[in-house]
C-alpha cells in the first residue's frame, strides 16, 4: 500500500511541477493526462517530438530490440559528455598534443578516467552500431517503409567510423601516427583522385601538424554535428515510419492474420 501511496505522491508532485508557470512557459504544455494533452506535450517540444507519441508496451521489453539503438545513443552521449572536458586540456599542436595526453594521464584530476571512458565508449559505440545494424538486417526491419532510415543508418555507421578514425590520431603517439599513415595511404589507392584525397585528408603529403589540426576539427566539430543531424533524422523517421519495427504489427502480417487464406493463395500464386 505504501508503494502505491508513494507513486501517487510522485505523480502529484510531477503534476504540480507541470502546472507551474515556469514549466508552462518553457514546455508550452501543462498538466492533464488526456490523449490530446499528451500528444501536445510531445509535439510542442522540439526534443520530444522526435519520438512517437505512443509506444506499445511490448516494444519496450528487451526482447523487442535488445536496446541496441538506445545503447548506441547512450555511448554517443557519454562520448560528448567526456569529450568536452577532454577538449579543455588538449592543444591540437605538435608536439604539445602528446604532452597533454601525458598530463591527462598523470596530473589532471580524474583525467585518466575521462580519457579511458571516452576511449572505451568509442570502442563500445562501434561495436553497438554494428550489432544494431545486424539486428535490423536479420529482422528485416530495413524494408519498406523503413528503407530510407536504413540509408540514414548506413550514413551514421560511416560517421561513427570516421569519428573513431579521426580520434585515433589525437594522442599523437607512435600508434596514432602509424595508424593514420597507413589509413591515409589506403585512401590514396583510389584511382585517379587518390593522391588528391590523401592530400586533402592530411593537409599535406605526410602526417604532420596540419593533419593533426584537420583531424581535430573533424573529430570535435564537423563529424559530431553531422552525426547529430543524422541522428535527429534517424529518430524522426522511426516515428514517421510507424514506430519501432514489430513483426506482429506490420500491415502485411495483420492482413494475413485477418484473412489467412488470402495470403496463402497469394503465396501459392507466386
Amino acid at each position: 500500500m505504501a508503494k502505491t501511496g508513494m507513486t501517487k505522491t510522485m505523480n502529484q508532485y510531477f503534476d504540480d511541477l507541470r502546472g507551474t508557470r515556469v514549466w508552462r512557459s518553457i514546455f508550452r504544455s501543462g498538466t492533464g493526462s488526456s490523449t490530446l494533452k499528451r500528444a501536445l506535450a510531445i509535439q510542442q517540444n522540439v526534443f520530444l517530438h522526435l519520438f512517437s507519441t505512443k509506444v506499445r508496451t511490448r516494444m519496450l521489453s528487451l526482447s523487442a530490440t535488445w536496446y541496441l539503438g538506445t545503447l548506441t545513443l547512450g555511448t554517443f552521449l557519454i562520448l560528448i559528455a567526456t569529450g568536452i572536458p577532454l577538449m579543455f586540456y588538449y592543444h591540437p599542436s605538435a608536439p604539445q598534443a602528446y604532452a597533454d595526453t601525458k598530463d591527462l594521464q598523470f596530473v589532471v584530476s580524474s583525467g585518466l578516467f575521462l580519457r579511458n571512458l571516452h576511449r572505451w565508449s568509442a570502442h563500445a559505440m562501434v561495436f553497438l552500431v554494428f550489432a544494431h545494424m545486424f539486428k535490423v538486417f536479420y529482422r528485416g526491419a530495413y524494408r519498406t517503409p523503413r528503407e530510407f532510415n536504413w540509408v540514414i543508418g548506413v550514413i551514421l555507421l560511416l560517421m561513427t567510423l570516421l569519428l573513431s578514425y579521426t580520434g585515433y590520431l589525437l594522442p599523437w603517439d607512435q600508434l596514432a601516427y602509424w595508424a593514420i599513415t597507413v589509413g591515409s595511404n589506403i585512401a590514396s589507392a583510389v584511382p585517379v583522385v587518390g593522391e588528391k584525397i590523401h592530400f586533402l585528408l592530411l593537409g599535406g603529403n605526410a602526417v604532420n601538424a596540419n593533419a593533426l589540426l584537420r583531424f581535430y576539427v573533424l573529430h570535435c566539430m564537423i563529424l559530431p554535428l553531422t552525426a547529430m543531424f543524422f541522428v535527429a533524422i534517424h529518430f524522426w523517421r522511426i516515428r514517421k515510419d510507424g514506430g519501432l519495427y514489430s513483426h506482429a504489427s506490420e500491415p502485411a502480417t495483420q492482413r494475413a492474420n485477418a484473412n489467412p487464406g488470402v495470403v496463402a493463395n497469394a503465396k501459392e500464386a507466386q
Binding site: K3, K102, F106
Partner: protein, 681 residues
C-alpha cells in the same frame, strides 16, 4: 538457493522506483572510483611517508616548512623538460637528509648544477611527466627510455660538456678510448659541434711490411695479436687458419721494399746485455714503450708499441735502420729521431732482438703462397676493412665501413637485436656489443677487443653521451671542447722539432701530447744558457716523475737552432724580462721572500730549495731556479700560474704585488749554490 536469488532480485529490482534507485547507487559507486583513485595516488602516498619520516627528526620544523604538497614539477620549455620527479623525491634539496639510506627521500649528491636549471631526466632519463613509479622509472609501451643506470651517469655531463671535465673520469676515458683504440677508424662519429671525431692512434702502414717482419709473424699476429703483445690495441678478428694464411700471403706479396730500409747491417748487433739495458734506460725508451717483466707487470709507457717479444717480430736490418732514423720507414711516427751512433745502434738493437719468445712462432709453418691464396687474401683484407686503419698499397680506405655512431645514445630499443637473457635496454646492448660483438649474429665483422669491464663501462658512457639531446642542445648550453690545433713550427727549427718528435710529449699552442710540460711560453720562461745546457744533458726537474726528457745527441748547431727559435717565438706578451732583472735585489727583499716561502705560503710542501731540510717532491726542485727561470716569469707565475699554464697543479694564492716581488727575489737568488755544496761533500 534459487529462491533466495529470486527474493534478492525482488527486493532490489521489484518495482521501477527501486530498480532506478539501485541502479543509480551502483552508478554513483562506480563513478566514485575515479576521485578515489586520484586521492590514493602514489605520489600522495610518498608525500605522506615523507611527512611521517620527517616528524621524528630533530630538524622537523625546517623540513616541514620547506615541504610543499601536491604535484611538483620542473618545467623547462627550451629543453623539453617536464619533470615531476620531485613530487615523490621530496627531499632532494634538503642538505640535512644525507643520512636517509635510500631514495626517494635522500638528498641529491652535490653537483655543480641546480635541479631547477636542468630538471632530472636530462641526466637520469626516464619519463619525467609520469607520477607513478613504474611509468617514471621503467620502460613501458608508451616510453622507451628507462632510468639510466647510475654507473653510466657521467654520460649525461657529456651531452653539454664536449671537452673533458675533472669530475668525469669515466666519460673522459671513454672518449679517449673511442679515438685511441681505433673505434672511429671504422665508425663515423660526428660530434655535436659538427666536427668528425679523429683517431689519435697511428696504425702502421702495411705497404712495406715485408721489410719489417716475416710472414710467419704476420700470420701469428693476425691469429691472435694479444699473444704477441698483451697491450696491443689490434683486435682479434677470429680468423680461420686458412684465412690468416691467405691474408698474410697477400700482405707480404703486396709489400714493396723501401729504399734505405733493408740496408745491410752496418754494425753487427752487439750482445752486451748490460750496455744495452743501460742505453735503453738512458734513452728513456720506457717513457713510451712497455716491457712485461718477469712478474708479469707492464713496465713503461703506452705511447709506442709493447716490446716484450720484439725480437720475434722485427728483422735485424730493419730494426737498425729504424733506430738510426725511424722517419725513413714511417715519416709520421711519434718516435723521435735519436742521433745514435753506429755503436749505440748495435748495442740497442742487440738488446732488443734478445727480447724474443721462441714459442710465438714455433707452430707456424707456412708453405709458399699460391696466386689463388694471394687473391683470396686480398679479398679478405678488403672484406674485413683492414684498410680502415692501416695504409695498404692498392686497397682504398673504405668509406662508412661500420654504422655511424653519432646518435647511438638515442637509438630506439625497438631497432635493436638482443641476445637471449639480456636486459632489453640500450646501455646493456652497447656494453654487450663491445664485449662480444660477434655473438649478435652470423657474419658480423666487428672484431673482438680486449677491453676490461671498466673500459667497457667508460666506452658505453661516452657512446650514451652521443644522443639526440646533445645534438639539439640550445647553443647557449653547449660547453665546447678545445679542439686540437694543427700548429706546426716553421723553418729549419720546425723541421728539427718534427724530426725529434717534440710534439709526441710536449704541447705547444694547443697541439701535442701531455706527457711533458706545455712549451707555449717556454721562451719567456727560461734563461737561454740553461736551455742550451738542458738540450745537451737533460737533467731532472721533477723528482717524482719517472718519465724524463731523453738525450738526443744533438750537435751544437742543432741546439743553437732550437734554442734561438724557442727563445724568439715562444714568448708570452705579458712577460717583460726587463721588469724583473736577474740580480740587484736587496738582502731585505730576499729575506722577506724566504720568510714568505717557508711561512705564509709554505711552498716547501711541494718544492725543495734547501736539500737538507725541505721534503717537497711534487713540484720541480728549486735549488737552481735562479739560473733556470726568468724573473718576470717567476713573478707572473706567483701572481697567476693558471694564466700561464692552464691546468697546472700550482695553486693560485692571490698574492699581493709585494709578496710576489719578494718571493721572486728569493727564488732568483737560488742559483744552485746549495747543490754545489752538496756536490762538494
Amino acid at each position: 538457493m534459487n529462491d533466495k536469488l529470486t527474493s534478492l532480485w525482488q527486493r532490489l529490482f521489484g518495482d521501477s522506483v527501486r530498480a532506478f534507485g539501485v541502479v543509480s547507487l551502483i552508478f554513483l559507486a562506480s563513478l566514485a572510483i575515479a576521485p578515489a583513485k586520484n586521492f590514493f595516488s602514489e605520489w600522495r602516498h610518498y608525500q605522506h611517508g615523507y611527512l611521517k619520516m620527517v616528524r621524528n627528526r630533530s630538524d622537523a620544523n625546517t623540513l616541514q616548512r620547506h615541504f610543499q604538497g601536491g604535484i611538483q614539477q620542473v618545467w623547462l620549455p627550451e629543453l623539453g623538460v617536464v619533470d615531476r620527479c620531485t613530487s615523490c623525491h621530496v627531499g632532494l634539496k634538503e642538505a640535512s637528509l644525507t643520512d636517509v639510506p635510500t631514495q626517494p627521500f635522500r638528498t641529491h649528491p652535490a653537483i655543480p648544477h641546480k635541479i631547477e636549471q636542468f630538471g632530472c631526466t636530462v641526466c637520469h632519463r626516464g619519463q619525467g611527466a609520469a607520477t607513478t613509479l613504474t611509468e617514471a622509472h621503467n620502460s613501458t609501451l608508451a616510453w622507451e627510455q628507462p632510468i639510466l643506470p647510475a654507473k653510466y651517469i657521467e654520460s649525461a655531463c657529456g651531452q653539454c660538456h664536449r671537452g673533458s671535465l675533472p669530475g668525469t673520469p669515466q666519460l673522459n676515458q671513454g672518449r679517449n678510448l673511442l679515438s685511441r683504440d681505433g673505434c672511429v677508424h671504422c665508425h663515423t662519429v660526428k660530434l655535436p659541434d659538427g666536427t668528425i671525431m679523429k683517431a689519435t692512434d697511428d696504425p702502421p702502414s702495411l705497404s712495406h711490411i715485408a721489410d719489417k717482419t716475416s710472414r710467419e709473424w704476420v700470420y701469428a699476429w693476425l691469429k691472435d695479436p694479444q699473444a704477441y703483445a698483451s697491450t696491443s690495441t689490434m683486435p682479434n678478428f677470429k680468423l680461420s687458419d686458412d684465412d690468416a694464411r691467405d691474408m698474410s700471403a697477400f700482405l707480404i706479396a703486396n709489400s714493396t721494399p723501401l729504399a734505405g730500409d733493408t740496408a745491410t747491417l752496418t754494425a753487427k748487433a752487439s750482445s752486451d746485455p748490460a750496455a744495452g739495458a743501460s742505453l735503453y734506460g738512458e734513452s728513456f725508451c720506457a717513457s713510451c714503450h712497455a716491457v712485461q717483466n718477469a712478474a708479469g707487470n707492464m713496465v713503461g709507457g703506452d705511447v709506442g708499441p709493447e716490446l716484450t717479444r720484439v725480437g720475434s717480430k722485427v728483422k735485424p736490418e730493419w730494426l737498425q735502420a729504424w733506430l738510426r732514423n725511424p722517419r725513413t720507414y714511417d715519416p709520421g711516427t711519434a718516435m723521435p729521431h735519436y742521433r745514435l751512433n753506429d755503436g749505440q745502434v748495435a748495442t740497442l738493437s742487440g738488446f732488443l732482438l734478445a727480447k724474443a719468445d721462441s714459442d710465438l712462432l714455433a707452430n707456424v709453418h707456412l708453405e709458399a703462397a699460391t696466386p689463388e691464396q694471394i687473391t683470396h687474401g686480398k679479398r679478405l683484407v678488403s672484406d674485413y676493412g683492414c684498410a680502415s686503419c692501416h695504409e695498404i698499397a692498392g686497397i682504398k680506405k673504405p668509406e662508412n665501413f661500420a654504422p655511424e655512431l653519432s646518435r647511438i645514445g638515442s637509438k630506439p630499443v625497438t631497432q635493436l637485436v638482443f641476445l637471449p637473457g639480456m636486459q632489453h635496454t640500450l646501455p646493456d646492448y652497447i656494453a654487450t656489443k663491445i664485449k662480444q660483438p660477434r655473438s649478435f649474429g652470423q657474419g658480423l665483422k666487428m672484431p673482438q677487443y680486449t677491453f676490461t669491464p671498466a673500459q667497457i663501462d667508460s666506452l658505453t658512457t661516452a657512446l650514451l653521451a652521443l644522443n639526440d639531446r646533445s645534438n639539439t642542445l640550445p647553443a647557449s648550453l653547449a660547453v665546447g671542447a678545445t679542439p686540437e690545433s694543427d700548429y706546426q713550427p716553421a723553418g729549419k727549427a720546425g723541421k728539427l722539432m718534427t724530426d725529434l718528435a717534440c710534439f709526441s710529449c710536449h704541447r705547444i699552442n694547443g697541439h701535442g701530447g701531455d706527457m711533458a710540460p706545455d712549451l707555449t711560453w717556454e721562451g719567456s720562461s727560461v734563461q737561454r744558457e740553461w736551455l742550451v745546457q738542458f738540450f745537451k744533458n737533460p737533467g731532472t726537474l721533477r723528482p717524482s716523475l719517472i718519465r724524463r726528457m731523453p738525450r738526443f745527441n744533438l750537435t751544437d748547431g742543432e741546439v743553437n737552432e732550437l734554442t734561438d727559435y724557442i727563445m724568439t717565438v715562444y714568448q708570452n706578451p705579458v712577460i717583460d724580462r726587463e721588469s724583473m732583472p736577474l740580480s740587484g735585489y736587496s738582502q731585505g727583499q730576499v729575506e722577506l721572500g724566504k720568510q714568505l716561502f717557508y711561512g705564509k705560503y709554505s711552498c716547501q710542501g711541494c718544492h725543495i730549495v734547501d736539500t737538507k731540510t725541505d721534503k717537497g717532491y711534487i713540484g720541480p726542485t728549486l735549488t737552481h731556479v735562479g739560473s733556470r727561470l726568468s724573473g718576470a716569469w717567476v713573478y707572473q707565475w706567483m701572481k697567476n700560474p693558471q694564466a700561464l699554464r692552464p691546468g697546472t697543479a700550482e695553486p693560485n694564492r692571490a698574492m699581493s704585488d709585494e709578496d710576489a716581488r719578494a718571493l721572486t727575489a728569493f727564488l732568483i737568488s737560488q742559483k744552485g749554490a746549495a747543490a754545489k755544496e752538496v756536490a762538494k761533500k
